[in-house]
Subunit: 471 residues, 4 copies
């Protein structure tokens, strides 16, 4: 269980005659949040049907036929990122649970921190899990709940799970959205021309289906949509906003807004801040495609240096299984990224990237630029050093793999072969994102940078404490 | 035959122990030149083997096994763009011809203008063609040639074919590269660390395999590589450089150099020229991804306006077969391109694109930007209006489909819904590319803009004259 | 739930270094028992892994790689027959259940008659089912059981389920086989050269893997195999042998022995009995391929008539998706079965078949023989008329679809267009099979013929009673 | 070229609105003649279209869509058997040749004996072959022919090719069938209800599409079918019937008639003859499935011994890629064939098979029967010993691989482990087939048995003579 630590994308719609098709297009714009699996559960006049599979959305849904089978006016969908292996299609969401008293679809983005202990308790009471995902815990809690109404069962169960979660539930008569007390994962609500309500992990999915943004779902909220309309309730009052700052830094699509802030614009401001904090004498600014192009153009504008296409990403790399051997790599064979010789040759380059995890990618790119003739390569990172793991849904699991948890700035610079290395300050990041929140709280989760987790770590606490002693 | 009018990518290597694998990685960086088919012919100590198929390179070569079967020290490869239909895998190159006196592989980029009449003559003499591609004509000419040596046969045959062509031939003992007398299509030569010679349609493929650029193959040249080394000969002296200007404008990869000029840099200069020719009062500059980003950043720098990410392209659009219905498109459902509401809302936008063919795409993007709140959209095109078809290898076949051949500038502006519309001047384009050539020749083919074809049109002449009268 | 009524094949092995491979070959010889899905769960030193999928075994396991991942010394496998639709791979067995205290694999052949009511009770207690198969009920009963040892939990749970079942269970330390109190479904035990124990639905699977037959598992028995060896216990004393007679008639492979009786030999005796009960004046005897060839040769030998190949089955019919339209069928286009004109023309034919369900197949074959020139066609069926549904695992679900439940012998003869029609008598069938059992019990389930069900029908009782009144 | 030595199936129809569909069903019943590739060329009002691919017909044509694209009133189809490797889909027939003056489809069953030398001559004259099949030679001859009409070109070309061939040609206005001067390969003509003419390698394909048998195409004949009707001409008078006797022995389907003789009936007579020539003291007669079941039942009837199902063939062996390792085979693991222990145990078995090629299969089956308890195994072969290769279209290429070319009867018996071994005499075979022909000619090709080839061997002569000296 502890090995599952994932980022995902959610989409749901209630009240559209082509609900599963709308969900398909919504998920399509969220594909960057998960490429390992996809699925849709549709509600056709109370009957729930499901289709899911491994791989990209376009692999799982190969033709109109696959969607045509999912008729009905409501649907929830999911795209999934997961580390290799796992148990195949069993863990692909949304889950569709079948009961004598009605079926239920469930999709989840985030990571529960007490899933392991809850699962053990439930199994001791006779529960049988069908996946090894943490997601399913909520369903067992609901079914074991002694509350009288379904909504009360759900609320009571949400109070028992901990960590980061955005949930979409679909049953015979309603769709329910719920967000954890810290709002780690984004979840936006929109409305279509015909009045249908839509939920999506990012607002780019609302745009993709032509829906108007209504509002973000807030921490501790539970939103119920049915044929009568939409209403918002809360299952807990103990909330404290802590949006995952990595969403702004590299995860979300640049055209999405999170908490009212456009992601591209925030990134551009990170680049500007970085240029102010660390002005560098150089000839050109180059961004690492694709996620760092916004920050790089911000850096260029603030610094007055020209913004150049010094690195090109091969757009056909997807689904390419043949890779260069080590031997060929040493001879200069490469597939993914190319340095533009005609641009960087003889130039002093500021290379802007969004983050450094292991350092291997940065080292490779610096080497690439130098091999193409760059006279100097200055690495400017538009976020602070990553030093601590995430337990709320991003796949950074141990301190061991984080270069900044184990090396000084000078060491990292040397390892990646840069002429200089700079990270955006934590304060700079907070200001660049510009979330209006009540001090002293930034409204952001910055735990990867400072170890300041907004919640207890529950099942992860022990291993985490141990890792602090060894790394 | 006349319906085949294609752009393609070539790669060849002689003298590397992993020749087919090197060719795979070379072709991978040329995939943008053709996505409909791919293939490799390898020479294993004189025995030629082939593998080819429909679709992307990664579809045709799914695993290392498929390459392992193509052992040997030399190989030629091809990626193919073709209009839908055709005759399936039969037309996918390289062709492998089998003869009692030795096999021969052949790959071609370009389009012959006298293929139809030559084929008829050859068939009347008993020839049987195995494809409906123009490429094969050369092989039949060679086999029917009365010359004594193979090289003389090839030279004589090259003199008989007309139009645009870059050819790679591979036989038991040598690899031969040849370029048409106008050099319409680019063809570069490189050398690997171990001394192996490499040919590629673009220099980005040399970079991809770690090869050093040696020189471009020139018009009328034939280059022979064998175990003794490389030598350059000519099959005609009547040459006149006329590089396809569309290669610079939108076709080639930005990291390639053609005739010594970096493509990204040329595009940026086109953007700068455009800003000088047409300064526009606006708030931001937005490029249409991906081919127009360089020109847009040039425009931004010259104009002093901020360069913004106002349009986002979905990177998962490849191989997605489910498309929004007309009905859903009207509701705002879209997959490929999104306007970034948070960036363009309330702004006056300069939208930079590389060209306008039918005008439908431009209209769609203008509409997208306005729907996202842009207050004005000014369309700036970094090339002159396309008015004439290409007969040398680009898929623009009739005047009928070209909006600029049938409408005035004012009409086009209105059709696409722009607040203003500007095209780069022909002279501006020539200067932006900056090819050093003997006046009065620009060294470029600009026929799509001015109808000034560098060669007679042969089999196409009659239909072309007719089209001038009707459009 | 009630819609699932299936025939399947089981195989298990404990103690062989290539357990999953052995299971693959065992299942391969049981493929005739189920073509809709297949799977294997293997135990690798206590860790259980699973692979399963839709379609034939050769589709689910496409290469050695797929088996190599299932390493370990023990495995259970399953092939599944199911009516179209269902819920895809979720219902494919063996199921692999994961618990904090160890995983468990489970495979089942048969049909439970109280699954529906048991499931409702379990769900009311909080249980969540992952399939809509009846199989899973046993697992939930085990997990909810208050017994102290695993074996006691299993025994107690087996006492609660009703109907026809052969179960194979695999956990960390042992494999368990269990048979229902009537032994409706066959289950044989064997031993390999190296001492490994093997279980299989039919003895042909023991032969296929080179195992020696040890004994059949008996009604009410539970057999435990672990590293210490094998031991046999019982979970109930209230047993009464009632082997499904359809196994002998058409379901089992002719090279299998059930309860010590060879299936081919039993079928040949059915043919002989039939010839004795109904001698027919004719020229040749023809069997309907493939299941009726044994009975036909028995009829031929007893009657003294020559046994001829009058009908040929196309052996490439598998996985052929294109079928003749009604229009083409009327023109005589056919794919599956051909009458041999050169054999039947002008002859009086005794056509031997094993059973008549709807009568449509018989009518088609009679027509085929007459179209090929047969002067008379006498249909001889080597079993009594099918009049009642099966609730223990064969897919005959309602009386409505059974021609003999709704028509007299004379009517059926007329419907199928035969010159005469004869069924083997119930007593003839019992004698032909020749099971040595204590009178008055035949040791066989003959309920499809006489409605004499060996057990109460539980959840099916109500619908069954209703069907007796309407058909 | 010499490596291609193949058996194939042909089908063609002229004058049916669903010609390609009819061809599909015709080919489906000829699938036993070739499983490596399949294709159809259809004529739609003069326009020829083609679809072909590797694998079974059901793989190449996966859905109705693939046939719907081949509309038109005429079609020719082909199924191909070929030794592994080859050049993939290039060699799959029918070939579709495209010419400025009209396209042409061509399909061939048989093997040319002068293809190699003819191809060399044609290539020296400039011809380019697109396959490495011998088939294509005819097309080049036709195109190089100086005759004035197409029919004369075809006739002249047919006179130049040697060996065994049945050809179907389809052009804009007609379908042409042609047979070699010895009629090695069968080719039957039929007529559908609507008047459409049909050609097929075997009459079972006529039955499959509801066509009436008209007559066999005779040696040296060329049959032309067009919208005016059908007419028969000859291209040579020097003919001598020599039907491949292996068609009767094992190749053709039992429901086919060749030269008016039913194949099953001929095989049954071979079994009877064998029983007369070699009466054996035994308990039961067992045929090797599937091809020897007719001969075995003939043997049983003549000898008075019971005919038993002593060997069972797994009907799911097709497309199964996982095979038992040598190690597992030694442990008794097997997939394809099982001996029925309950039938053969303690019995003296006459095992009837149609032929012995290498002897390995026979040895394996004898071993299987003995392992299952047979007390004696007497092998009776319903044809004479195979001692010489075939050059007319069957894949027996060298004497080296033929056990009877290298060992005495006593040695073979010992090698295969039989208690006795008997072959049908050549005279017995001739009488069993019972072709009415003018003595001294049998009308059969018996060269595999006696080395008496009905024609010169041309390109094969040299190697053949050499093989006589070494084997």
């Amino acid at each position: 269980m502890k090995s599952l630590n994932e980022e995902c994308g959610l989409f749901g719609v209630w009240g559209h005659p082509e609900a599963s098709r709308i969900t398909y297009f919504g998920l399509h714009s969220l594909q960057h949040r998960g490429q390992e699996g996809a699925g849709i559960v549709a509600n056709d006049a109370g009957a729930l049907h499901s289709h899911r599979g491994l791989g990209l959305l376009s692999t799982v849904f190969q033709d109109d036929q696959s969607l045509a089978q999912l008729s009905g006016q409501a649907a929830v969908g999911h795209v999934r990122y997961a580390t290799a292996g796992g148990d195949g299609v069993n863990n692909v969401q949304p889950f569709l649970f079948r009961f004598y008293d009605g079926n239920l679809g469930m999709a989840h983005n985030g990571n529960l921190t007490n899933a392991c202990s809850m699962r053990r308790k439930l199994e001791e009471a006779g529960a049988i899990f069908q996946s090894n995902s943490d997601t399913e815990v909520l369903m067992h809690l609901i079914r074991h709940s002694k509350q009288t109404t379904f909504l009360e069962k759900v609320k009571k169960s949400l109070q028992q799970i901990k960590g980061g979660f955005a949930y979409l539930l679909l049953n015979k008569t309603e769709m329910i959205a719920a967000l954890d007390p810290n709002g780690f994962r984004p979840l936006a609500m929109g409305k279509m021309q015909n009045g249908a309500y839509v939920f999506a992990s990012e607002t780019c999915a609302l745009d993709a289906v032509g829906a108007q943004f209504v509002r973000d779902v807030n921490p501790g909220e539970i939103v119920i949509v049915n044929d009568e309309g939409m209403r918002i309730e809360t299952y807990t009052k103990q909330t404290q906003l802590a949006i995952c700052s990595m969403e702004y830094i590299y995860f979300a699509r640049p055209d999405s807004n999170i908490a009212g802030i456009n992601v591209h614009t925030a990134r551009k401001r990170m680049g500007r801040k970085l240029a102010k904090e660390y002005p560098i004498e150089a000839d050109i600014v180059v961004g690492v495609p694709n996620s760092s192009l916004s920050a790089a153009s911000g850096y260029a504008e603030e610094s007055g240096l020209p913004y150049e296409l010094g690195l090109v990403k091969n757009q056909y790399i997807q689904r390419t299984f043949i890779q260069p051997t080590q031997h060929l790599r040493e001879q200069g064979v490469r597939m993914k990224l190319s340095a533009v010789r005609g641009v960087v040759k003889g130039r002093r380059v500021v290379m802007v990237d969004d983050s450094i995890v292991r350092g291997t990618t940065s080292r490779r790119i610096v080497k690439l630029l130098k091999a193409a003739g760059a006279s100097e390569v200055h690495v400017a990172i538009s976020s602070p050093p990553l030093k601590y793991p995430c337990f709320y849904g991003i796949d950074i699991q141990t301190r061991k793999e984080l270069i900044a948890a184990n090396h000084s700035l000078a060491e990292i610079r040397q390892i990646i072969g840069a002429d200089s290395l700079h990270f955006l300050s934590e304060q700079g990041l907070i200001e660049a994102i510009g979330l209006q929140n009540n001090a002293p709280y930034s409204g952001l989760c910055l735990a990867y940078f400072n170890g300041d987790y907004p919640t207890p770590l529950y099942d992860y606490e022990k291993d985490y404490q141990k890792s602090l002693r060894t790394c």
